[in-house]
């Protein structure tokens, strides 16, 4: 199931983009969802093709890499205690990112519907508000279910 409790992190302290991504990638590796090469690939990919998006209210990021480094499809979530600097997808402008959804997905039609639901979530200020204050993992998973991202 997506959003395994071991890969949902609230108010994590990270000093920069690299440390934030490394914490999440390590969690996915420990959960048995990705290969050892996932973390370096995520970091290299973010440097080449930044994944942050500026919503109407906060900065979010959707780091991802090639599907061959994924063994079990999963999405990891991190809310940062203090935002860290990312670059925006498409134009490399600086964005302070507060929420990270690390995508470890396999190629499939499921992925499209899931990504579309995630983009819709980023356009929903009420849901983004919930994500900034949620304190327990069950509630978080329920929010993701309501958004059509988890089942």
């Amino acid at each position: 199931m997506l959003f395994d409790r071991n890969v949902i992190l609230f108010d994590e302290q990270a000093t920069d983009l690299e440390s934030a991504l490394s914490i999440l990638a390590d969690r996915l590796y420990q959960a048995g969802c990705v290969t050892e090469t996932f973390k370096p690939a995520i970091l290299a990919r973010e440097a080449q093709f930044p994944t942050a998006l500026k919503t109407q209210t906060i900065g979010v990021a959707i780091p991802h890499t090639d599907t061959d480094k994924v063994t079990v499809p999963q999405i990891a979530f991190m809310r940062l205690k203090r935002p860290v600097k990312f670059l925006q997808m498409g134009d490399n402008t600086e964005i302070q990112v507060k929420l990270i959804f690390m995508l470890a997905l396999k190629e499939s039609t499921d992925q499209l519907a899931l990504l579309q639901s995630l983009m819709a979530l980023f356009q929903n200020n009420q849901m983004l508000g919930y994500l900034q204050t949620v304190r327990d993992k069950d509630t978080f998973i329920n929010i993701m279910k309501t958004a059509g991202i988890a089942h």
Binding site: R45, Q48, F49, P50, L53, K54, T55, Q56, I62, H64, T65, D66, T67, Q88, M89, G90, D91, N92, L103, L105, E107, Q111, L112, L115, Q116, M119, F122, Q123
Partner: protein
């Protein structure tokens, strides 16, 4: 037939979302049956911009071709999406 290429880093993630948005938009305007949409990686197609009527990217493209490429990120965030659709319609000549 008009052609539009949509690229991202991998050719499978954000370009797929953008392609869906663009196809929905073209369908809503009644143009979809006049357009072939394609998607791929920026690395694979960045040297073939001229082969398509419109070229759209969710990732940064080199400075020397930036003015030939439509930035599709607003389709993902919803902020400024109308401007992207206007640029696409303009490039496709509708």
């Amino acid at each position: 037939m008009k052609t539009i290429m949509i690229v991202c880093g991998s050719g499978v993630a954000t370009s797929t979302v953008a392609e869906g948005k663009i196809r929905d938009f073209l369908a809503s305007k009644g143009f979809l049956d006049q357009v072939n949409t394609f998607k791929g990686t920026v690395a694979q197609y960045i040297n073939n911009i001229d082969d398509y009527d419109a070229f759209v990217s969710t990732v940064v493209v080199p400075d020397d071709v930036r003015d030939q490429v439509i930035n599709a990120v607003p389709l993902l965030t919803g902020i400024g999406a109308d401007s992207v659709y206007e640029q696409i319609i303009d490039k496709l000549g509708f």
